[in-house]
């Protein structure tokens, strides 16, 4: 019962002499509750793949089906709402909203959807990520590792169908990276959360249940 199925994804930039085949027919599937890592050197197309899977960019051809919904058919605000409910993002540069407190950042996707905040679930997530003492602080006051943990909490809080992490430890030193990866792995298990993480470092990839290798836009 796979939560994410990508079929024959291609993405081309520019035309004729400046044609770049970022993705060249990529197919993959992720089971529910699985922690999958996609590894490839930079320029191998892994970021482009993640943007396709997360509906941040539309593929030149091929389909992406998440939770039985083909998102390449969704457009504009509909895609936005799908993202808000079904996909949690964790970026290399954290991408927290600088103007609102840590707690507001965490529950923002839920509030945007007008849902009631599931208080105990959220406080459990906050507890697990050790953020209890930082809730009404502005993100800019936190260290890189702490900000990434807030991003993880935000992704988990809306119980998405899948979490997509783009080089989550790219900006962190080795010690903090180990912490963040540990948290990703344990929270994935604990909250039965399907996760896909992309990285260029195979030591990090080893943390996942399964690893997919990508080279020049194709699965090896």
């Amino acid at each position: 019962m796979s939560i994410l199925v990508a079929e024959n994804l291609t993405k081309h930039y520019g035309q004729d002499d400046t044609l770049v085949k970022a993705l060249d027919g990529v197919s993959l599937s992720v089971e529910r509750g699985e922690f999958v890592s996609i590894i490839g050197t930079s320029g191998s197309g892994k970021s482009t793949l993640l943007h396709m899977l997360g509906g941040l960019d539309t593929p030149t051809s091929g389909t992406v089906i998440i939770d039985d919904k083909d998102i390449s058919k969704l457009k504009g605000d509909e895609l936005c709402i799908f993202r808000r409910r079904k996909i949690g993002f964790i970026f290399q540069s954290f991408n927290l909203v600088p103007s609102i407190s840590v707690y507001d950042n965490i529950i923002l996707p839920i509030q945007l959807d007008g849902k009631q905040v599931d208080k105990d679930f959220v406080s459990n997530v906050i507890e697990t990520l050790g953020l209890q003492s930082k809730l009404n602080v502005l993100p800019s006051k936190l260290s890189g590792g702490q900000q990434q943990r807030v991003a993880i909490a935000r992704a988990l809080a809306s119980k998405p169908a899948i979490i997509l992490a783009d080089e989550p430890t790219g900006n962190l030193d080795s010690k903090t990276s180990q912490d963040v990866l540990g948290l990703l792995k344990t929270t994935g298990k604990k909250f039965n959360q399907t996760m896909v993480m992309i990285t260029h470092n195979d030591e990090i990839a080893q943390m996942a249940d399964r690893t997919i290798r990508i080279e020049d836009g194709r699965i090896k």
Binding site: G33, K69, L74, T186, D209
Partner: protein
């Protein structure tokens, strides 16, 4: 109350769920669209939960069959040696004491093996069905390491393997002392088993913001990269690990125990370093 358009939609959703092919219609800011997403989520998690149960049951069955398969060998050996022993004894006075003692020691060896397997089986079933829940509390790391070392000291002496441990009273973590002791013993047990005669096992700790790490380094062959990947596989099968008794089950048990305490296990494959290294990360 509800206009019948909404009720019609709800019925549709129920029928689709029963047939197992419910798909959300479209995504907009209306309440009905949000209801559909949450309905999908519920179906998903319920499917997931009974899927998990089914998986767990499958894995347990698989495991029990592995263990029972593994108990066959020592049992047949014990039967065989007891037969030999009886024969020797039947020869009355000219039975060779040396053979008898040999057979006895073999039986004894198989016995400990059997004992270990049965023991693992009981612990595993208790762990899985939760009768013996893992209850993490703030404990001293040094106490944990000291007790586990003492448990394997005698085996280590046999192969005169030195076990070193840098003490640090201040280190604390959240774990269930009894169960985690069990897990650490398995690791040390393996280390002793695979270290050459006169080798050394070094245990040291490393502090992170969220975790305490316990490194167990031995100068044995270590574990290959693919085996490491397998250990972290979700449906890790005892039988796949080489038949060297105990490696598969022990590690599996350790991994489950640590996972239940929100910690995790990391193995440094032998192509990355000399010898074997296993790291246990416990939540601070």
């Amino acid at each position: 109350m509800f206009n019948n358009k909404t009720i019609a939609r709800l019925e549709e959703m129920l029928d689709a769920a029963i047939e197992g092919n419910f798909v959300e219609s479209e995504y907009d800011e209306t309440k009905i669209s949000r209801l559909e997403s949450r309905w999908k989520e519920f179906l998903g998690s319920s499917v997931l939960s009974n899927k998990n149960l089914e998986n767990e049951r499958h894995r347990l069955e698989q495991f029990i069959s592995d263990i029972s398969h593994q108990t066959k060998t020592p049992m047949t050996n014990i039967k065989m040696y007891t037969e030999l022993l009886k024969e020797e004894a039947a020869r009355g006075a000219d039975a060779s004491i040396e053979k008898i003692s040999n057979y006895a020691s073999m039986i004894e060896k198989q016995n400990t093996r059997l004992e270990f397997l049965i023991d693992s089986l009981t612990k595993l079933s208790r762990l899985e069905n939760g009768t013996l829940a893992v209850v993490p509390k703030e404990e001293q790391i040094d106490k944990l390491i000291a007790t586990s070392i003492s448990a394997i000291e005698s085996k280590a002496k046999l192969k005169n393997i030195t076990v070193t441990h840098k003490k640090d009273e201040s280190l604390k973590a959240l774990f269930d002392l009894k169960w985690t002791n069990e897990a650490l013993i398995n690791i040390l047990d393996n280390a002793v088993k695979y270290s050459p005669e006169g080798g050394a096992i070094e245990i040291y700790t490393e502090q992170f913001e969220m975790y305490q790490a316990i490194h167990v380094v031995d100068n044995g062959p270590g574990i290959s990269e693919e085996d490491t990947a397998k250990i972290f596989g979700r449906f890790y099968r005892g039988s796949e690990v080489q038949q060297e008794e105990g490696v598969g089950i022990g590690l599996y048990l350790t991994r489950e125990i640590v996972a239940k305490e929100d910690g995790y296990l990391k193995v440094v494959p032998n192509n990355k370093r000399e010898g074997g290294e296993m790291i246990v990360y416990l939540r601070r």
